[in-house]
């Protein structure tokens, strides 16, 4: 059984100009969603998702058909997101830095308290962007795995293939990710 992706990739390699947009249509929502959840920002998510497809086009010759196309494209997207998060971390002013001229006061004190009242916590789902806030609290290496597992519904094997990490590592990170979120969310 040949998948739709495999057929499309064959057509792209043969030079069929109509096949690539079909492949983009097939994956654009998945890739945009992953990028959006990784970055928590619509504009950056769109840029990264666009870049993902450009890389797919440029590197299609290197794609190994023995692996699922979906895991390959997820790998490109998550790597681009992690690179961007790393760059962002380097350029952003650290919140832990003490404010000049104000002993003992750091930038955390200047931010509005993001925690919601207990009544809001009873509300499920996306209310007040709680899911995004919880995901943002994880470090990128846990974030990517939790997103792929629970938002994109990939199996542990698929995640292991996508991130090129042994399945034992994936399991350990999922366990720690669940524990961290439970603590964060007070569940």
């Amino acid at each position: 059984m040949v998948s739709i992706e495999e057929k499309l990739i064959k057509r792209i390699k043969k030079g069929d100009r109509d096949a690539f947009p079909e492949l983009v249509e097939l994956y654009k929502d998945k890739i945009y969603h992953v990028a959006y959840r990784m970055l928590g920002n619509a504009q950056e998510a769109e840029d990264i998702a666009q870049e993902t497809f450009i890389r797919v086009y440029a590197n299609l010759e290197n794609y190994d058909p023995n692996y699922k196309f979906s895991t390959w494209i997820y790998r490109i997207a998550t790597n681009l997101c992690i690179d961007l998060l790393r760059k962002r971390k380097q350029s952003v002013y650290s919140l832990d830095k003490t404010m000049e001229g104000a002993e003992g006061v750091d930038w955390h004190d200047r931010l509005a308290d993001p925690d919601l009242g207990p009544e809001d916590k009873l509300l499920e789902g996306e209310f007040h962007g709680q899911v995004q806030k919880a995901i943002d609290s994880l470090s990128p290496k846990y974030r990517s795995i939790m997103i792929l597992r629970y938002l994109e519904d990939l199996s542990l094997n698929e995640i292991s293939e996508a991130l090129k990490l042994p399945i034992t590592t994936i399991k350990t990170r999922i366990h720690r990710g669940r524990e961290a979120l439970k603590k964060k969310l007070n569940f």
Partner: protein, 203 residues
């Protein structure tokens, strides 16, 4: 089973990674231990919470924007792709192109001056300038064909005048009873040679 071991099993259970035996062992522990039960429910809530995330969709014109950013194919790539898709067609067109080129050079080499006429005695022939003159008061009965040269008709030709790769000049005193035709032979020559080559290949 202690609580630490139970926690390991809880995570394996959430990963759908437990044998039936392990499952029943875990169940037994959870029935007895309130702390582990609370912990287990908390972790399950985390999963449900994450799964409740609404799906976001790619913005409008996403695909068009991607396509606009793709590198344009160079001429070489275009031909490579065509070769990949239609190898026979490309080979055939290349063959025709080369054949046409060689036929044309054959034709271009063949610049000999030729004259066919029923009455050469009536004509003035200047082979240096490749020009034939039908003088005034002279009459040629029949067709004149000239190749790679010009013809100037001052007298009368009772027939057709054909100049292949040449010009026909008709003076005011001149008269041609038949057709007057100038042919550029390059195209026909190439076509003829191609036909000959293909015939030779097929038989």
């Amino acid at each position: 089973m202690n609580c630490h071991q139970a926690n390991e099993l809880i995570h394996s259970y959430l990963d759908e990674d437990l044998t039936e035996h392990e499952q029943s062992e875990l169940k037994q522990h959870l029935c007895q231990c309130v702390d582990c039960r609370t912990h287990f429910h908390g972790l399950r809530q985390v999963i449900v919470f994450l799964q409740s995330a609404s799906h976001v969709y790619a913005p409008e014109n996403f695909t068009e924007k991607v396509m606009a950013q793709l590198p344009k194919d160079t001429m070489l790539q275009v031909w490579k792709k065509r070769l990949h898709r239609h190898p026979l067609l490309v080979a055939a067109s290349l063959f025709i192109l080369l054949m046409a080129g060689s036929s044309y050079s054959l034709w271009a080499d063949d610049k000999q001056f030729l004259l066919t006429t029923p009455g050469p005695e009536h004509l003035q022939i200047n082979s240096d300038k490749n020009i034939v003159i039908v003088p005034v008061n002279q009459t040629v009965a029949g067709d004149i064909v000239i190749r790679n040269g010009d013809i100037k008709v001052e007298g009368t030709v009772e027939g057709n005048v054909v100049a292949i790769d040449g010009h026909i000049y008709l003076a005011s005193t001149g008269h041609i009873t038949g057709e007057k035709e100038e042919i550029s032979q390059a195209v026909e020559w190439v076509w003829y040679n191609l036909k000959q080559t293909v015939m030779n290949l097929t038989y």
